[in-house]
Symmetry: D2
Subunit: 254 residues, 4 copies
């Protein structure tokens, strides 16, 4: 059994639609439309137990984990969907110890996922041209305790990749085809390049550039996720769904 | 630049449809319908260069990486598709350092992917009832150098999970609903359970069991992967596709 | 060239998101937030020309066709989606001259589509238990000029189908499996039964009942429609889509 | 009850995977690997009964209907899939009495479906440049008894459409964008143009041409059909599926 301590990132859970992440700081209070929670009262409580707000609403206390934080980031900025992040990481062969170049940093959501996989011995080198994006991403990574596995670079990646012999180059940017030749040079032999793009025209251009740069195993796919409403005797797919997020192009330096 | 050494796992690449993985052993020869390759000749060659077979066919020399091995395993036994493996790992919150229970081991494909993410500080505890499956899986994990992150258990998981306070329980078995209560007991508060099943009826039973065990954030989804034939002015989705692999049910212990 | 006459069903078209269907009646006016249109001014105008409202907005004048009316009905009640209607009609082998039993009538949308195909020599026999539904459907069919190809029946179809030797039985109801035996008796040898249901459990029950009633060529499918945002260099599937409408089960009396 | 007569098109049904269509001709025999059937013995038998081959195999006797013939044509040449044919007919507003231009004729499969809907008062004008295709299509339509609703034209449609004020123009050809202006001229005001193309690039060009020709309600969609293996407690989508047939672009002359 483990207990809430000062400084912990806690999830207060009302139901599947509503929950809050908060950092427990002695002396502070948390205000919500369901009432006030005194942080002082949280400290020492076992995870899995409940706390009652000033309005008498019971909230479950859970440790906030990586996926909770990812959802928090997703609520504030548009991020690559988890289904795509997961598959990108796999086809880029990202794993414990990998050295990965990523562009652009954006809100740091994909950066954080890559960082959570490569640590403690790997590294993510993430390129971004907008300083405000980078700042926000740094804050997100710090809150997750993952900043030590990331090197943030404020640089136009089309001007060149500083790193050499990297395991993977992952691109989530408007013009990935302009980086293909740089990606080739940065990758080790057999290393993987993966690009994520919303339009089919970007896919055509990226694949063409990869063929020209003699990548092998070039593949373009998309992942369509279908949610289900499961109820005995009334099970059916969700009526509304996200029909498209983007295409994933991958290939291997030869 | 890096070079082929004795004992290396090398990929000899003919084209996107045909390549071979081999362990370089001095004195041995590799026979294929494209001719013979003498291992002696491979040693010392730089990766990215070519070797010519006795029949005059040039093969590219690449280091065999994790994904190459995964494909090799997939050719021999039916494994969970990479798209599903990747998403399962993400929604189970598996990452560097995680402590994960898995059942069944099968060919060890999913085991190997989980192991490649949790190392060096995490661990995968994998349950299997058939000794022959376990033996084969062990061999696969050893060849990948990932066996040190795995504890193989020859045991019926419906009889109980030995581990406590684990981060995730991942089930790929015929009757996942029979393990839901055991999964709950093994998981830490806030830990994740994920189950993969081919039929919708299994999904109904698993979700029902998870509701009874008071899991929260229960979700059932499926991932549909569509491949594309990309060619300037002739781009289109593949005509034939895998229409279904399985459903992924996930939830969180509360 | 053809011209607007009194009594015509006209479509006033503002743009792809906004248009109005109206029946031209001398002496009346049409009020909209884009201004007033005097019906008197419409009469005699050629189709394809424009009429200007009292607020100076130009509206295109088109003849309202069947699909316009279908959209009008769809805006007011939930109807079977056109993609499903079209496929149901095909697998039920509905065509010029067919004799078709349908249940339930609902808003008459599917009834109207079937009627538009079977006329002038075929007939649709449509069963409904709720009088208010039937009344509304009759009104819809009359406005479309298709009521002469339809026989409306206020009757519980599970109590029996009056017609014999029909070409097709089409079911869009909560418990289609209860009608399978009646459908068999009403169908001619080789006739087709088609059922539309939103849940997979209904599909299981219907297929089981059809197997018991010795139907052949039993098939269960679903049609997923994906819309595209087409723009040179920015083409991509729509982000939001209808993920599920229903399953279509079909079979043939033997 | 109805009986097999001379000249009838009969379906001999072994099982869902194997059946034969044959025209009953007195004095002839039908040879199959399941044995011989004497046509003489078929005449006078009631539909729904069985006939036993010389090898003792029982075959069900059904009247061959339109869908049986469509399948027969599909086995010999590549045709537009039924799901697409049905939706094309609906969005083109094809119904009893419609006047429809179609190009190309191909094997006549789509022609036959349109003809089966427009008769007895409508007409399908079908353009084709290859005489051998046209000949084969004519034979198919005659066998179906639908040739009287079709006018076959051996002509390059890009050179002009002879018909005026048609209800719909339906294109299934490599370069539909070259016909858009001709289609506009042939259509009545409010008439519908529908085009079917396998690649996304064709869709881009067709939509662009339709925008230039001031079509309204331009839409591009695709229909994805998923089959299900339905069995109590083991229901699941088919593993293999057709992932792509083509895109359907539709619009309306204004």
């Amino acid at each position: 059994m483990s207990f809430v301590v000062e400084g912990a990132e806690v999830l207060l859970y009302l139901n599947d639609r509503k929950s809050w992440i908060l950092k427990v700081e002695r002396g502070k209070k948390f205000h919500t439309h369901k009432g006030i929670v005194n942080f002082e009262d949280l400290i020492g409580k076992p995870y899995g137990s409940e706390i009652v707000t000033s309005l008498g609403i019971a909230l479950k206390i859970l440790p906030a984990d990586y996926l909770d934080h990812l959802e928090r980031i997703a609520r504030k900025t548009q991020i690559i969907y988890p289904k795509d992040m997961a598959y990108i990481a796999l086809v880029a062969n990202v794993r414990s110890g990998s050295k990965v170049v990523e562009c652009g940093t954006g809100s740091g959501a994909l950066t954080s996922y890559l960082a959570s996989l490569v640590g403690p011995d790997g590294k993510v080198f993430t390129y971004e041209m907008r300083e405000d994006f980078q700042k926000n991403a740094k804050k997100n990574l710090e809150r997750l305790g993952l900043e030590k596995f990331v090197e943030f670079k404020l640089k136009d990646i089309t001007k060149g990749i500083d790193e050499k012999e990297v395991d993977a180059v992952i691109l989530d940017m408007a013009t990935p085809w302009l980086v293909v030749e740089e990606a080739r040079k940065a990758l080790k032999i057999g290393g993987r390049m993966v690009s994520f793009s919303p339009t089919i025209n970007q896919v055509e251009k990226t694949v063409t550039a990869m063929e020209k740069a003699q990548f092998i195993n070039i593949k373009a796919v998309e992942l369509i996720m279908r949610g289900y409403k499961v109820k005995v005797n009334e099970t059916r797919p969700d009526t509304l769904m996200i029909g498209h997020t983007g295409y994933i192009v991958s290939g291997r330096r030869c």
